[in-house]
Amino acid sequence: MIEILRNMWRRKFRTFLTVVGISVGIFAFTVMGSMALKLNKMIDGGKKYITGQISIMPKGTDFASGQTGGMLPIDTLNNIAKVPGVEAVEGSVGVSVDEPNPDEPVSVSMSTPATIYSLDTNSNFKNKNWETLAMKEGKLIDKDSADNDISIGSTVALDKKWKVGDKVTIRGREFKIVGILDKTMTGPDSYVFMKLPIVREMYIDSNPFLKSLRDRAAEASNISDKELAKLSPEARSQIMQAKTFKVEDVSTSAAVSWKDSVDPEQVVTRIKDQFKNEVVVLSPKKMGEQIDKASATMNAIIYGAAMLALIVGVFSITNTMVMSISERTKEIGIKKAIGASGRSISFEYTLEAGVISLIGGLIGMGIGTVAIVIINSKMASKGAEIFLLDANFLIGVVVFSFVIGIIAGIIPAARAAKMKVVDAIREL
């Protein structure tokens, strides 16, 4: 090992360049890999959640744009609850915490925007993979909570600097924070949980059409059929809509749990068969597969980009070793003359390549880790860290750098091992 380090020191500039090449590759691998780890953790959380329920959307929902196709009427949800195998159904509504800013209709952010998410505290629905949400402080709202009690995700708490006990105003209404969730690394971190009826009201208030229906519903219910018949067809249609409007019909999605020992895919098929003209049913298995595919693609892109940088580093080590061995032909000849076997020569030079790469790996990983810590600390105040630092991953990166050095050194080392002693000696 001393000889290896001395040989590296003898050719300082060349060693430096080679180490830099590997450092850059390992830096990219560390940073991109940590980003992938964070994204994978978020995706895992999301996957765990989505595969723990059958998700129902109104027919016509555009998954690409996120636009809902309409509402899920309460009658439809009640009928779904009667499908054999169904344990419980929970309608839900979501609306953004902050009202849209017409001056900034589009914003780009690495984090999920804060969203108000409804909890039907009267429902006995439970997600199969995520039955409870762990709390950092306080409690999750339940059926005994007041209407204006809310529980918030960890990212929301950090971003808005809210604490348990605070009274806050959201969309013009005052609420009291009764709990902050533990970090989940996924959706709930950005949620504000409120009781379903409250969120429904907020949703209606945010939608001019629904608002007008609600506001006119009381008035419409007092119009007799006789008076209705006198109205124009257009006016009659509007009144009919207002008459039949129910706040309970306002659900933008629903979640279905299945009974234990029942195959959820069979329940999916039954719901699809009965309600195919009214709802879109998302099978947990298919959703899981879609997520896995997307995750695999994302990982391939992230790691692929890092691997490219690493491949350049590997070639730089191979080049360095080839040059080094060609310059040290005499030395190899001496060693073979005094009894070194081809195997021991091969081992020495392969190890040297590994050590060069290991040094580059340690530097690259070190700088990458520092960069991650700095960037994450700047994003922490918004709860929007984009990297996940994992000790096992970092150790793996360093070990990987050593291994790729060994691989890069194999061919040049094999050439050194095969060198005929007498040919090397002739250079003496």
Binding site: E3, K330, I338, G339
Partner: protein, 224 residues
């Protein structure tokens, strides 16, 4: 006395081009007994170095039989030849040929490593040998910090590291002045006299040749 090296009918040719084949050795015979202090002499190009390489298992003859310390090494596999070379043969070169990045003691220890000695034993023996050749105060110096004579003494210590059956020295005084050359030859003679170490020296230096008990003359690749 025991025969250390017996070479019979050694032939070696080099193909310089399709039509130009050079016969370096053309049926050389040689016998070295234990305790010999012999020289291989001859004009330039007579095949001395080629013979030395073959005797040292650094090269293979095209024809002939070679027995080293009772073992027929004529058709040995490289792996086995390496082991025999490491344990039974010591080399001293004209240009000293120490590893420049290693100190004197590390150069000597290296031979012990390739000869299969355990680490503690290597260091102890290397220290002893360097003391034997008068370099007790230079053990931690690198080759570029030593004179030519001192470097050759390190090379001698290295050659002795594995208690070899024979030491092959190829022009050991070739790059030294006459005074230093004499010192080196005296060291070799002392080792031969006191330890019965067998030496075979290639030289074109008459003084060195005259210091040897036996001379093997070569001319045009044959025994002269």
């Amino acid at each position: 006395m025991k025969t250390i090296i017996k070479a019979s009918g050694m032939k070696k040719s080099y193909k310089m081009s399709k039509t130009n084949i050079v016969k370096a050795l053309d049926g050389v015979n040689l016998e070295i007994k234990e305790g010999d202090f012999s020289a291989i002499v001859g004009p330039s190009g007579c095949g001395k170095s080629t013979l030395m390489h073959i005797l040292g298992l650094l090269d293979r003859p095209d024809e002939g039989r070679l027995v080293i310390d009772g073992v027929d090494v004529s058709n040995l596999k490289d792996k086995v030849a390496n082991k025999i070379r490491a344990k039974k043969i010591g080399f001293i070169f004209q240009g000293f040929n120490l590893i420049p990045s290693l100190t004197a003691i590390e150069n000597v220890v290296l031979a012990g490593k390739y000869g299969g000695m355990k680490p503690k034993a290597r260091k102890a023996r290397a220290t002893l040998l360097l003391e034997l050749v008068g370099l007790k105060d230079r053990v931690n110096h690198k080759p570029n910090e030593l004179s030519g004579g001192q470097q050759q003494r390190v090379a001698i210590a290295r050659a002795l590291m594995n208690n070899p059956t024979v030491i092959l020295a190829d022009e050991p005084t070739g790059e030294l002045d006459s005074k230093t050359s004499l010192e080196i030859i005296n060291i070799l003679k002392k080792l031969n006299r006191e330890n019965n170490q067998t030496f075979l020296i290639v030289t074109h230096n008459n003084e060195v040749a005259d210091a040897c008990k036996k001379k093997i003359r070569l001319k045009d690749g044959k025994n002269a």
